[in-house]
Symmetry: C2
DNA sequence: AACCGATATGGCATCGTTCCCACACGGGTC
DNA sequence: GACCCGTGTGGGAACGATGCCATATCGGTT
């Protein structure tokens, strides 16, 4: 015997139901329901007796039965791409806290970068009859699928269906432009961009911001300086090693997310390059390590927990107003200037 | 209109039920159930027809109804202390992946270091009738409560009820001993210990390991070098600043978790101390930043995702064998030697 | 011709909760 | 005394899926 069961005078392993409470309190099931939920009449003494009986038995209403009857659940699904990435972990933490404060239970699915997992999670959420879903989508499929089942979806961080599905994103374009402009104003012209892709809103907008800043600085995008890397540190590191070994290497790198930044940072360290004397680095998304390494890394900080919280808030509103206009919320970002960005080395000036 | 509803020929917002499928396929509900679940007879042509009808309607069985009828759910609850801490995030990721591979849905609760949230989560899990719960407990209450409701619990990382509840932990004692012995063998004798507490299994065991290693090296625990810090970076940093400013400061610090290590690390950097020339640092739990800062930080690495996965595996076994002996699984750790540990400075030798 | 087993399907009670409806009581009004 | 109201309670039908049991058909056996 390991776990003690049934502290109550019921059969072993049987959980008390509303019927048990009714019997113990000497009333009907209906009365117990009214007394405990507070909906409908119940005399004070009866209410009290029922509550005591419920507490004594350790009665907890069965959410399954309740949801089945009421046809609305108080749980929301959250799908993130990779919990091990602090960005998604923070986002989930923010969503979880907000959900809790609004009385929702969060069901979290970590797809671990697998498309299958994303679809499976969506189906599981339909099966669970969640009230709504918050997702950092990797394809338009999830939103379409859930939408066709009448489940409200909030796309967060990236958005595949603006205008149709609600979204919560950050100022990607502005953030990327500020970051790049910062480098331009330090004299850099050959600025590499490490980015995961340029098709989704996020990547596209960050690319746009980068491009605009270059244009404003009188430079243009050089295709060989734009690296579309895979979604992991190893690949980013490899690509960065290749690029930084070139004789005419860029004088600065803008890494469009924390994973890519880590790869670039590791490559720089391996090559023994000095930061920012040899090369400047700026990242989009301020991961914890960026303020711990030396030099510290200049980054576009986003309120990641706020992003998750805002998504849940939006979902809550959507549930209250199912037919309202769909809305995209844009959260502000801010450039945190640190040690990794400095003036363009004299030798490289004017060559770009 | 934002979300499209009811691609199927049903009423707006109505989700197809088994009855709709039965009607569409021209069979009874029982037959649909058998055809889709594969339990019981169903002629090949009928099975096919039913499956086609289900697919066409986008039918997804209602987990609520199924669970209500079967009285066993396929979801497990996971309670972690702080998703923003990479340790818990990795643990949750490991648990989630393992759960998914075994066909469970994970319901995650992040207590954010609040005791209330822990109890609320436990109650929510009872209400949800989860099959079992994996928890990094902060008090014995959760396990007792869930146990009294007949819900199997796996305590992970720390264990309040060994012998009663299953547990999955790491070799805290050995890890702490190895870490401390490493410092001792480098000549250190005045070794500070930063630890969150010394009462739970985790803290107690790490303290024991530290103490044993000192004894083996011919030194003893000096109470003023043992700091029981709060569970956040700021506090740890403050306490480290105080200690490292002392004239007879320790020559090495063993930080018993990644949060405390971060505080100590920041304090060291602020004071401009050289690592490891002035002070050596070793941490329990190898967080990502430890291999990125310079010098890199020597740490006791634990397989955090493995910890989460092992907990879910153990829970699965427990569900199959409810009355088996309760078991505590101990996972191995290994000391990763890096740049933050070096010989004890000559001046300090022999003063401890 | 009666019977059997195998194959295949439908009827129906059930899980725990909610909530509509019916009903019962006491007291006030006409 | 018939009525209606307000207050309080219980009966019972749902919600959607499952799975036991009854039933039906058919080929083969006794």
């Amino acid at each position: 015997m390991t776990t003690e069961r049934g502290a109550s005078p019921l059969g072993r392993g049987r959980r008390p139901t509303i019927k048990d409470v009714a019997q113990a309190a000497g009333v009907s099931r209906s009365t117990v329901s009214r007394a405990l939920t507070g909906r409908g009449y119940a005399a004070d003494d009866v209410r009290e007796r029922v509550q005591r009986a419920a507490a004594e038995l350790g009665y907890v209403p069965d959410v399954m039965a309740r949801t089945l009857k009421q046809q609305v659940s108080r749980s929301i699904g959250v799908i993130v791409s990779d919990l091990r990435n602090p960005f998604y972990a923070d986002l989930a933490a923010g969503a979880g806290a907000e959900a809790r404060s609004r009385g929702y239970t969060m069901v979290l699915a970590d797809t671990g970068l697998s498309a299958d997992a994303e679809n499976e999670a969506a189906e599981a959420f339909v099966a669970l009859r969640v009230a709504g879903v918050v997702v950092t989508p990797n394809s338009p499929k999830v939103s379409t699928y859930l939408g066709s089942h009448g489940i409200p979806v909030i796309e967060v961080d990236r958005q595949f269906a603006p205008g149709v599905t609600d979204g919560v994103v950050v100022g990607n374009r502005v953030g990327a432009r500020d970051a790049t402009t910062h480098l331009v104003s330090l004299g850099h012209r050959r600025i590499a961009l490490f980015i995961d892709e340029t098709n989704w809103t996020t990547g596209y907008e960050r690319y746009q911001g980068y491009s605009e800043a270059l244009a404003m600085g009188g430079a243009t995008v050089e295709p060989e300086l734009v690296v579309s890397s895979g979604w992991d540190v190893a690949d980013s590191r490899r690509r960065a090693l290749d690029m930084l070994r070139l004789p005419d290497r860029p004088t600065a790198v803008f890494a469009a997310n924390n994973v890519l930044a880590e790869g670039v940072w590791r490559a720089i360290a391996e090559l023994g390059l000095r930061v920012p004397a040899d090369v400047s680095l700026v990242a989009f998304d301020d991961a914890p390590w960026m303020s711990m390494v030396s030099p510290t890394v200049t980054a576009v900080a986003q309120d990641t927990m706020g992003l998750g919280a805002a998504a849940v808030r939006r979902l809550h509103e959507r549930l209250e107003t199912p037919d309202g206009e769909s809305l995209t919320t844009v959260l502000a970002v801010r450039l945190v200037t640190r040690g990794s960005t400095g003036p363009c080395p004299d030798g490289a000036r004017g060559t770009g």
